[in-house]
């Protein structure tokens, strides 16, 4: 009885629905990230019934206010009310793909039964809301990746060489996933598994790392730099997870099918 979460039967929580899957006869098993309890699993009883009062509030990507009861090992959702359904994220495939990427990254990196982390919760909610407003989706995603790495303790070292700790100068460098940062050209000679990184890409990564979203969102990197940054971040995440993420592949396959059809 030392665990404080056991001392109450029911709690109010604000949550983002990360995933859902079918459970039992007509229930849904939800993975939630709550402001109050971190990542938890909860059962929504009867959520697959057509007249369920909860189902519509519990779709993935929804920011929701919940009443949770403590079951034997899972929470049970007793009430649900949408705070923000982020409707634009459900309107087209590109938007759904972006949201799915944000959620997958979050779900893979954040372990279950994590203690509450309100700033991490805010990052997730703000990212979804930035994507929904669709002003600068690409930047919203990169900013999110950078902040998520901060929270996870994998903040890439971009100002000093991750190998010799000397200051990184304005010249083409390398990026090392295993060392977790930029590597100067001199150290880069003998090291395996390095990716080249251009001055422009490094400059933007640094900018995302030390600026707030308002400043970061003013950046307008060239198309080529965007692609470079995206592939470096993707590579870094794949290295950290020791596996590929599903969503980028999904987006690629969907886009390939759609462009093949339009030709």
């Amino acid at each position: 009885m030392t665990d404080p979460s056991r001392s109450f039967r029911s709690l109010r929580a604000e949550a983002i629905v990360l995933r859902h899957s079918d459970y039992g006869e007509a229930d849904r098993l939800l993975t939630l990230y709550t402001r109050e309890q971190g990542k938890v699993r909860a059962v929504a009883k009867g959520a697959r019934k057509i007249a369920s009062r909860k189902a519509g509030h519990l779709e993935p990507f929804t920011h929701v206010k919940l009443q949770l009861a403590k079951g034997r090992d899972l929470f049970i959702v007793t009430q649900a009310e949408t705070i923000n359904a982020f409707m634009p994220l459900r309107d087209n495939l590109t938007q759904t793909g972006r949201a799915a990427y944000v959620i997958e990254l979050f779900d893979r990196f954040i372990p279950d039964e994590e203690t509450a982390n309100p700033s991490l919760f805010r990052l997730l909610a703000e990212t979804l809301s930035r994507l929904a407003s669709e002003t600068v989706p690409w930047l919203a995603l990169r900013f999110y990746e950078m902040r998520l790495l901060d929270f996870l303790g994998f903040r890439p070292q971009l100002f000093e060489c991750a190998n010799c700790q000397n200051e990184i100068k304005a010249e083409p460098q390398f990026f090392s996933a295993s060392l977790g940062g930029a590597v100067c050209p001199r150290c880069g000679q003998g090291l395996p598994g390095l990716w080249p990184i251009s001055v422009d890409a490094l400059k933007h990564l640094r900018h995302f790392q030390r600026s707030g979203f308002r400043e970061a969102s003013r950046a307008r990197p060239a198309e080529q730099t965007r692609k470079e940054i995206e592939s470096i971040m993707q590579g870094y995440f794949t290295y950290l997870l020791e596996r590929e993420l599903n969503t980028p592949g999904f987006i690629k396959r969907v886009n390939a099918a759609l462009s093949a059809q339009s030709n």
Partner: protein, 201 residues
């Protein structure tokens, strides 16, 4: 506790079924032991070769008996072949058939797109649907995947894929369920119910 091997085998097999834990498995196994022999033999018979006795309709991918090319719906000349209703799985066909109001044919996708789980267009029966529409003779495709993130993703993808064919693509209406309560409706449902409101005459 030591149990004879036959009953242990049965318990282990039952435990592998969804929603059945060790306790339920033992309870069921002992029930079989006490019940009439016919229960076991009928169940065993039903299970034997189940997969071999089932095939998928070559047209719509609904389940049908092995050895048959087409399912009941596709083989029925009275059904309207120019309308296709696209569903996630075979159980949804049953639900639609229960309405007794739909006279068109079906297409069973056998799954649904899911970006997070990495289930893409090639993992479900999307290609055969596109080909079927491309062969012509189709007036309307009704997208009847579930109103969920995955179902909507699938519908949006299909809509884009079918756009070039010029066929009329519709989506099942979304609105308030029978016996529902406005107070509890989510914004998404209520908004669509409002948009899709109908004239009363």
């Amino acid at each position: 506790m030591l149990l004879p091997e036959p009953i242990l085998n049965l318990i282990n097999a039952l435990e592998r079924l969804p929603g059945i834990g060790p306790k339920s498995a033992s309870r069921l196994a002992f029930y079989f032991l006490r019940a009439d022999e016919s229960l076991s033999s009928e169940l065993a018979e039903a299970l034997t070769g189940l997969k071999a006795k089932i095939a998928y309709c070559s047209e719509c991918f609904n389940i049908t008996e092995a050895g048959r090319e087409l399912c009941d719906v596709c083989a029925n000349p009275k059904r309207d072949g120019s309308i296709i209703c696209v569903l996630e799985d075979a159980l949804d066909v049953l639900a639609l058939e229960r309405t007794a109001a739909y006279q068109g044919r079906y297409h069973v996708l056998q799954g649904v797109l899911n970006p997070i789980e990495g289930i893409g267009p090639d993992d479900i029966k999307i290609r055969p649907l596109i080909d079927r529409v491309a062969r012509g003779g189709i007036r309307e495709v009704i997208l009847a995947t579930n109103p969920s993130m995955e179902g909507d993703t699938t519908a949006m993808y299909l809509q884009q894929q079918l756009r070039a064919s010029g066929v009329n693509v519709t989506r099942l209406a979304r609105g308030l369920p029978m016996g529902g309560d406005l107070e509890y409706a989510d914004q998404n449902t209520l908004l669509r119910a409002l948009q899709g409101r109908q004239q009363m005459d």
